[in-house]
Amino acid sequence: MRQMSRCLLLAGMLAVVLAVWPSPSQAMPAFARKYGFNCAMCHSAWPRLNDFGQKYRMNGYQIPGDEAREKTILDLGGPPLALRTQAGYTSDSFSPEGAESETNQFQVNGVDVLGGGVLGFNKGFFLAYLPQIEGGSGVEPQAGEVEQASVIFSRLRSAWLNARVGRFEAAYLPFSRLRSITISPYEIYNFNGSADVSADTRGSRNPFSLADTADGIEITGWGRCPWQYALGIVNGSRGNNQDDSPSDVYFRGAYVLGRGFGQTAGQRVGATVYFGRARALVPGARHSFRRLGLDANLNRGPYNVELQLIQGRDSGAFNVFSPGDRYKFSGGFVQLNRFAEESAAFVRYDWVNTPSADNHDITRITVGWRQHLAHPLMLHIEYSHRKVDNGAKPGSDLTENFAAARLDWAF
């Protein structure tokens, strides 16, 4: 009975959403509907942004050069909202058995409610809400949260001075986790002391993760010259934002060689530095940590290479195996993409090297393909193999084999 009520509620919500929708959608459909564009306007293989899409985002969701003519949300005929979900067959198995729950079934994988647009001249906003889903019966559980809610004040003097305030995916991630074309996460972005390997066996108890969205303010700049920058003060990831709000700072600079904006044209190289403070998973004082990153996004014809190197250093207070010694790790990923007219193929290698006393090194290889079926619909096929060295029991490494064939749908 309860399940039936839930289904009816879902169907009702869906009907309401569809009833108020003004026109068919593509990509981040609220934007596509606004201009009559299709998804390829801003995405090389949605959700990954192309040069134009990246400029559009950085310009506060306004078409560069056309800011004065942008319609605000009050001028639009419908709500600037969109919905995204995935469904399909997922197989996720682990060795040794029982290390994690195993999945082999058709399932719906989360729902994102997205909103965005222009509030006024050079004032944009973006919202990503993940409704709570209890899960079960082929529906993957989802924790309810406001993943992003930010206001962008663009072109405060020129494109060289823009401010984003609220909760957002910060620019210290040169390759967006939220707009990645892979389901498998970037390991180095996810790496923290409370990741899926038990915190008891992880060498650092720093809960900070680069992958989380953060609350704060970010100043960015870009222009016609090849430089781009971002400077921010944030409260760290939601993992280390416990009872108070730390004030972490970061800076990122990037340079684009050749023609383009560095997403799908031109060769972009960048460097990032992040200084933060966090509690070691227990009440007490905050301790410092640092992340240094180098990245490159290289394009040649339909091929694209994403390269990320990150070195992390946590205060000795985080170190489980050698308390007092700084916990140092490094890692990164290299991903080769090939973007065709209606499809994208990708292969990525992730690695994280932990200190020898810890020895929970992670490697992951991911291959996959996305095929555009129709404007709001993408077929996604992916296989990923992940291995985590087990420092406590050498020879009994944790491995994961993930495979999925899903429809990725946005409306």
Binding site: P22, G36, K55, G65, V108, A265
Partner: protein, 355 residues
């Protein structure tokens, strides 16, 4: 699990139905998504048959040039989709201008006229070339003298406007005639109205590229495929300066340096060469220019960026441009009043009067 599958498929079906019904309702409307609305006509210059006929005569009348060799139709040729065939056109005494002659087709649909937008509407545009020393090279006084000494025109102006000929009334008549030069019934229009066989698959792919990866739609928008604004593509930029400063010559605003009016695209396939200086011979060449992201300069339009189009995508875009070609009016030169009064005779008459 089964319930999840059912819910997801149901959502897909419902969304597809909604999308389809909206597309159908759009297509059944009078016009939508770029289809041509009625031609905008200014309140102070309503369309009348007599005025249009008078405008057609004036459009073809070479006596409106100093040596009697050039009319509007010389550079905006009805048999060449109302444009010219060379990069730039010849004016009086075989002088050459510096800009390509744009087609008159659908000029009524965008507000600013000329590549630099110096005329706000057709009535202002029509008097420009007449006075341009490179094009038709007549002073206002000489133009009005000539019109007022051609009895056939005097009668017609009296009938249409209730007044003797003036340059303002000449402009109104020509503008009225130009407002009849429209094209809209292209394969694209028929496709949007529901005829799914009207465009080839390549053209449909090109249409999606147009509002997608190519982001042509950012500027080439609206019923005539022009945003009536000015953009800098870097065309004509070399050695740190522009050969033609474009919109800057009108506004003196540095942000307008090298910017030119977005051109209309209907029947564009019939009007090579392209761009303000006629520097690109074919549509493929134009698309290659965009694919490179234009020509870098300090004022390049922010929307310009390399597109990474494949050869097939470029070809598809050209196919879509071809699908914007509709039938356009081909007007034969009408009989002109008092042909015995040549430009030379009228000049001599004016000199006599001056004595």
């Amino acid at each position: 699990m089964r319930m999840a599958l059912v819910l997801f498929v149901a959502a897909l079906v419902v969304s597809a139905c909604v999308a389809f019904s909206i597309q159908v309702s759009k297509a059944q409307g009078q016009y939508a998504n770029g289809l041509l609305p009625p031609v905008p006509v200014p309140a102070d210059n309503p369309q009348t048959d007599c005025k249009i006929r008078l405008g057609a005569q004036l459009y073809f009348d070479k006596r409106l040039s100093s040596d009697g060799t050039i009319s509007c139709a010389s550079c905006h040729r009805p048999d060449k989709a109302w444009a010219d065939t060379g990069p730039v056109s010849e004016g009086v005494a075989h002088q050459k201008g510096s800009r390509n002659s744009p087609s008159v087709i659908n000029a009524a649909y965008i507000a600013p006229q000329f590549w630099d937008g110096r005329a706000l509407h057709l009535e202002k545009q029509a008097v420009g070339p007449v006075q341009n020393p490179i094009e038709m090279d007549l002073t206002v006084a000489e133009l009005e003298f000539r019109l007022n000494h051609i009895p056939g025109y005097v009668c017609q102006f009296q009938e249409v406007f209730g007044s003797r000929p003036t340059i303002e009334l000449l402009a109104k008549a020509i503008a009225s005639f130009e407002r009849t030069v429209v094209t809209g019934d292209s394969p694209y229009d028929r496709y949007i109205q529901g005829d799914r066989s009207a465009m080839s698959k390549a053209a449909i792919r090109g249409m999606n590229l147009f509002s997608g990866k190519g982001h042509c739609n950012v500027c080439h928008s609206g019923p005539a495929f022009s945003d009536s604004r000015f953009h800098n593509l870097g065309v004509g930029y070399a050695n740190g300066k522009f050969k033609d400063v474009g919109r800057f010559s009108v506004t003196k605003d540095p942000r307008d340096m090298g910017a030119f009016l977005t051109q209309r695209l209907r029947s564009v396939a019939l009007t090579p060469p392209y761009l303000h200086d006629g520097s690109e011979r074919t549509l493929e060449d134009v698309i290659n220019l965009y694919n490179r992201g234009g020509i870098p300069n300090s004022n390049l339009d922010p929307a310009m960026a390399p597109l990474n189009l494949t050869e097939r995508e470029k070809s598809d875009l050209v196919e879509f441009m071809n699908a914007l070609t509709g039938p356009y009016p081909v007007v034969e030169p009408p009989p002109l009043p008092n042909p015995e009064l040549t430009a030379q005779k009228l000049t001599e008459m004016m000199k006599e009067c001056a004595k």
